[in-house]
Symmetry: C2
Subunit: 367 residues, 2 copies
């Protein structure tokens, strides 16, 4: 999608020699647009852990390239040990993101039966490239399927479709198009009048910073609101549909997503507003049903709550908003039970948020 | 309650000559404790409109003193006109706060049959003093009634009682004790172990700034959380009870309170967590039932969403968190339907959130 009128992806190979991988430092958005070149495996670790890149699909592709960079200069004798240590380090960066785990398993599979170290390295690179290409295609398909929901509302209503979204599940969270925002971009291209309510998404403000940035550069009308506001807007009939992304959706259709998603799902349900989750199938955790206590919820640093990052006079500043000695707690995700979800928008179509629904689109996952 | 170990009210007569009324500039909390003396009616208007004082009961008492200051140096010929113009100006400061309207009506009544201008002035002053005294007594009674709920949980659970609160309905919102926080202070005095989850309460962060400040200075264990977090905490069984304040409760028990309250009520309901609203009866709007579209919801400046106020290196700074040209919308309140409210804690006891419930405690309001 576009930044200042020029098309970008969130991650790309810097040059033909593959000396580095380029990403956008998303921590600086929307105030500053800066490209970072990842030269070493440690650079990739930092990029994921410190959230220069974020969003499940983008974490996946970054992980795939990271594995290639971890071993690309390895001697044969070091390969296995380096590969395994690198996997452990990657897994520790973002415990909730299922894409990390899934990507690593697929990467391992891609080199499974190969013998020569050169073939293994090549397989890892090809895997990363394939993942990147596939993610773009998946997001585009999610957008096409989801856009029909918006077209339907537009046709029925005959006026601007108001979509509420939480956090950033836009192109900045993927390679291109996005998940939750892809239907909006594609519906817009089809002539649907759209307007997006952007939850600011405390504590890290991915909505205020990234979603608003994306929509602005794509010329899509949008309004930033505090996370507290969506309920009232739904009570007042000012929201036609909610579309969010997900970091992990369980086999039963329960949705792990950015903290606060559950509250919006509750108010959508209470006001008969359709609530959809857009997801690439790579975000589905096909293992057995998990309860709220079994799903690991990342707890991040309390300072993300106590301080707010922004700019003043062009300078990046973290301002303290609480008494200095008050404690804070910073859970990163919550769980929206499937009963509150109207449907899941996947690359293969839209289905009910249930095991049956998911298996109707992904019959190969029937046990 | 205490600040740095010394007892304060939120508003007091500066000296015996009544040259001014003293308040705490709550915009500077928790970072700076500064007392402001209100010398003229214009000072009072600014104090209310710019939220140096906030919270329904404190707005009420400030309004009462404001009316006295508006006319105290008036000539007889100017009295009526000045009084009416001042009322209009006061009413425009905070459209949602019913205490403003109620206080003005009571003030008008207090001078109703008096003839001499001096008697009228004295009546207005006495009214303000009476309101202040009554508010303290009301809050203390709310605290006593509400503390029984916490004692019950403590007895049953045998461990720390976790209370979630939204915004600031503590002593800083009243004259002393508070409404939603009064039960906590009084339960603590009775030996109940309490811990408070403090919703930061965007956009103005009254929770992070004021509630945390109050609790810290009273030595009450507390943890600040983003507004998105309460749902997950309830899912995980980490909240025993929610207590919030209100700016206006309708005759039917619907609760107008700080934006985001409705979302917490929904998640409390969904997780069987009791949800109580603490209110002085002065916050009850006894007029006929109002729908969500009939209740005026204050829309504040969008910059309260786009910028966050805090301190860095001891300096107050507003940092921009959105793209500069993105729009924002800043509704200040939402409406929690009575069906989601377990009970109302008033100065006369606890009742169901319904017309029947309210009238059982306030039979004089039966029509």
């Amino acid at each position: 999608m576009k930044i200042n009128g020029k098309h970008y992806q969130t991650i790309w190979e810097t040059d033909e020699k593959l000396t580095s991988i380029s990403i956008i430092d998303q921590r600086l958005l929307p105030h500053k647009f800066e490209i970072v070149n990842l030269l070493t495996f440690e650079d990739f670790l930092i990029a994921i852990k410190d959230m220069l890149v974020r969003g499940a699909p983008l974490i996946g592709v970054t992980t795939a390239y990271a594995l290639y960079f971890a071993v690309k200069d390895c001697a044969e004798s070091e390969f296995d040990a380096t590969f395994e240590v690198s996997i452990k380090k990657l897994l520790s960066t973002r415990p909730t993101a299922v894409n990390l785990k899934n990507t690593i398993e697929l990467a391992r599979k891609s080199i499974g039966s190969l013998n020569s170290i050169e073939a293994k390295k090549e397989a890892l690179l090809n895997f990363a490239r394939k993942l990147l290409k596939e993610d773009k295609e998946i997001c585009k398909k999610i957008g096409e399927h989801g856009s029909k929901l918006l077209e339907d509302i537009f046709r029925r209503k005959g006026a601007t479709v108001n979509i509420l979204t939480h956090c950033n599940a836009g192109w900045l969270a993927t390679i291109d198009y996005g998940t939750a925002l892809a239907p909006i971009y594609i519906a817009r291209d089809k002539g649907v009048d759209v307007h997006v309510w952007v939850d600011e998404t405390r504590p890290r403000l991915q909505g205020a910073k990234l979603t608003a940035f994306e929509l602005l550069h794509e010329g899509i009308p949008h309004t930033v609101i505090s996370d507290n506001t969506g309920g009232l807007l739904m009570q007042k009939g000012m929201v036609d549909i909610v579309i969010v992304g997900t970091d992990r959706t369980t086999r039963k259709g329960d949705v792990v997503n950015k903290i606060g998603t559950y509250l919006k799902a509750l108010s959508a349900y209470d006001n008969n507003v359709p609530f959809y989750v857009a997801l690439p199938s790579t975000s589905i955790d096909w293992s057995e049903e998990l309860t709220v206590d079994q799903i690991p919820i990342e707890i991040r640093n309390e300072n993300e709550v106590k301080y707010v990052s922004g700019v003043v006079d062009g300078k990046f500043v973290d301002v303290l908003i609480t008494p200095k000695s008050s404690k804070a707690l910073n859970y990163a995700f919550d769980i929206t039970p499937s009963r509150l979800v109207t449907g899941l928008i996947t690359e293969r179509g839209i289905c009910p948020a249930s095991e049956e629904g998911l298996l109707s689109l992904f019959p190969e996952m029937v046990k």
